[in-house]
Amino acid sequence: MPDLDRRKFLKMAACLSAAFGVGNLPAPVLAALKKIDGAVPTLVYLQGQSCTGCSISLLQAETPNAVTMITEYSKLSFHADMSATSGKQALALIEKYLSGNAGEYFLAVEGSIPYDMPEACVMGHKPFAEHLLDASKTMVGAVAIGTCATHGGIPAAEGNLTGAVSLKEFYKRKGKSPLIIDIPGCSVHPDWVWKTIVHLVQVGLPELVNGQPKLFFDRKVHELCPLYHDFQQEIFAKKLGEKGCLFKLGCIGPDTNADCSTRWWNGRQSWCIGAKAPCIGCASPIFAAKKDFPFYRIAKKGKE
């Protein structure tokens, strides 16, 4: 296909995906969307209350790999685990973007935000929350990476002391509604993030369902699980390590939107249920949220 046609085609695809997926977005968001059409995102990647697991997962990408993503697609401009610079120089770099003086950029956020205790996450003597408020005025949009950023995750689980919230919830409470693409998972699958970015670069905003790319989060783990046949035949594992559908041990696959059952993990080599481990619903909004909703159903002595 000649270059010109390809560009036209991409534009059309972007329009189509916008028409199907994001028709009812607020006007400023739509305006922002126009801007990113065909552009290369410059990613400023910041971490809140995170364990860095999502960043580490992103380095496990194979097709394309992380180096390709950094040099060709994402234009990663800052990442605390990768950047050669540090200290004042690093802060100046971040501030230059966040103040709008370094051109257009996408914010990538990993980790939750301690809403009730801003001092519980600080970067350069300034609460992370304030950096986010600065960014809200200048960024094209944000990618919330991992369940902490999309739903609060474990830092926001019942009983937490910091009042941790997701990126969307943080902005909502501050009366802002920037464009946010949610990519849940504890941790995220590298494909979910990088291929969303490739999509942004090549085509524009991908179609979203509940704010998440439909490409990856359309169906339940359960629907395409290789053990679905066992589930229907009522062949259930009753003990850990046994063969059979893991439902009776607590598998949350029936309640979790993610394509793990077909994509698998770590270079398509393995995945949770492939190792006979019940899905703990790490990509689900309810992940770990309640104390009395344990991951597993295992016999207890003296109890039924």
Partner: protein
């Protein structure tokens, strides 16, 4: 003058270092952990089996170490006897995670302190990775944008390796190591389910099948990792050591050393381990006693009492506490400052003459580098000890796969007890890791984690003794007080993980 060199990058998490510099010498250093989540409180009241999953989310770099420490603690609390396969799989998962972590640490987190990235502009060869990297750096630098070729540039000022070929070779290995660390992680994910955050690790073993299919994939991946360790990782460390020999002296911590021992050689928790446990206090070796650990909080942002033992631990955050400068607590062993991590692990084992291979490797490399075993307490010493650990672990993992019985179970059978308490201790890649669980009425009543970076990046304690990293920084000469690449190299040699340290 006072200089804050934070945020420190190329580590896990939020760390600042506040220094006082006089005549280019660091006279005071404060290690400042800037992020808190409160895992121990979140765990309270939950089902005990949630713990090996939730504690993995303390850290996405070494999640498996937390899963293992938690599994050990629960096995201890449930009085479980673990099948041989189960323990072997724990070892296979955790050992491969160590290999990955050492490679990530050396290439992605530390190498850019020594390697001159701009050497890539002089590359004239045809290696496609390097051509891609060169063209990208060229394009970015020429674009006139304020920040050329991040994340590699800009960087701190200081002396870097001068030899162009050496620099370009190191950059090539930086890229290759990414592929190799993926292989190590694939290997652990075969038995762990996925990486990061394994779902298949449980107290009592691992749910995965012990099939030849899995074992042979695992072996072939570890073989490739092992080859890289011998052919590239070790020569690269020696090359850095040759260019910067002064770092065998720089960055000495002032205190004792502790290791909890790594990789049990039998199914029982008290089996002998590949790396022996022990504490080195004033040069003398002692057995580890968990009751001798107390956590001080005079300078930490908690209002809960100071000096509590592990099993008594409580946590009340006090973000505005006036004397406090960090979220990290200050654990002390018999009141002493302790360094944990690869150097401590190797020194503790070496002093006992426990693992013959470790002794031989230390002696061999010390000979090559022209140093003594006491120089392991230094920036380069920590790097070297990771490499020695990697060699020993890779060999062990290949042997360990031969001990799997493909017909035997991999999981213990269990019913969870109404109450119980247990300690679980292991070595994360960054050092001694301890989990403690107390179960009442089928729920977690108390959970405590004492974590490697909590020891290393601790603030001053109640007696005002600076922590291990703080003590290693004090007295260091810095050429550019504003940026302090020397201090950055010292901090990186500890491989801090602040998510772990505070949790």
């Amino acid at each position: 003058m006072k200089v804050d060199i934070g945020p420190i990058t190329r580590i896990e998490g939020h760390l600042s270092i506040q220094t006082t510099v006089e005549d280019n010498i660091i006279t005071e250093a404060r290690s400042v952990g800037e992020m808190f989540r409160g895992f121990e409180v979140i765990l309270r009241g939950r089902d005990p089996l949630d713990a090996q999953q939730i504690t993995q989310r303390i850290c996405g770099v070494c999640p498996y170490a937390h899963a293992i420490a938690s599994s050990y603690a629960q096995e201890n609390a449930y009085n479980l006897s673990v099948p041989a396969n189960g323990r072997i799989m724990h070892n296979l998962i955790q050992g491969a995670n160590h290999l990955y972590d050492y490679l990530l640490h050396f290439y992605q987190l530390s190498a850019l302190d020594f390697v001159d990235v701009t050497a890539i502009l002089k590359y004239t060869g045809s290696d496609s990775d390097l051509v891609k990297l060169r063209d990208w750096v060229k394009f970015e630098v020429a674009s006139g944008k304020p920040f050329p070729a991040t994340p590699f540039l800009p960087r701190l000022s200081g002396k870097y390796i001068e030899d162009t070929d050496l620099n370009i070779g190191a950059l090539k290995h930086y890229i290759e190591s990414l592929e190799i660390q993926q292989k190590a992680n694939k290997a652990s994910a075969i038995f762990g389910g996925k990486f990061p955050h394994a779902t298949a690790i449980f107290p009592g073993g691992c749910t995965q099948d012990p099939s030849i299919d899995h074992i042979s994939s695992y072996r072939s991946l570890i073989r490739e990792v092992k080859e890289f360790i011998h052919q590239k990782y070790i020569p690269d460390i020696l090359a850095v050591a040759q260019g910067f020999p002064e770092y065998w002296e720089i960055g000495k911590s002032k205190g004792g050393f502790m290791s909890f021992g790594l990789l049990p050689l039998g199914p029982e928790l008290d089996s002998k381990r590949l790396f022996a446990p022990g504490v080195l206090l004033n040069g003398a070796l002692e057995k580890v006693d968990f009751e001798a650990i107390k956590e001080d909080v005079k300078y930490s942002k908690y209002s809960s009492p100071s000096g509590l033992k592990v099993r008594e631990g409580t946590l009340t955050p006090a973000p505005h506490k006036s004397s406090a400068y960090t979220w990290v607590k200050a654990p002390r062993y018999k009141g002493q400052v302790i360094e944990v991590g690869p150097a401590a692990r190797i020194m503790v084992d070496y002093t006992q003459g426990h693992n013959q291979k470790i002794k031989e490797l230390v002696d061999k490399f010390a000979g090559v580098a022209g140093i003594g075993a006491e120089n392991l307490n230094s920036v380069l010493g920590r790097h070297l000890c990771r490499a020695i650990s990697a060699v020993v672990i890779a060999d062990f993992l290949l042997e360990e796969t031969e001990r799997i019985d493909t017909k035997a179970p991999t999981m213990a059978d269990y019913e969870l007890p109404e109450s119980g308490e247990g300690f679980g201790a292991t070595e994360a890649s960054r050092g001694a890791l301890l989990h403690y669980i107390n179960i009442k009425n089928y729920k977690i009543d108390r959970y405590e984690c004492v974590v490697p970076t909590t020891w290393n990046c601790s603030p001053k304690d109640d007696r005002d003794q600076p922590g291990a990293l703080e003590s290693a920084l004090i007295g260091t000469r810095v050429e550019t007080p504003d940026e302090q690449i020397e201090a950055n190299r010292i901090v990186h040699s500890f491989d801090p993980c602040l998510g772990c340290a505070v949790h």
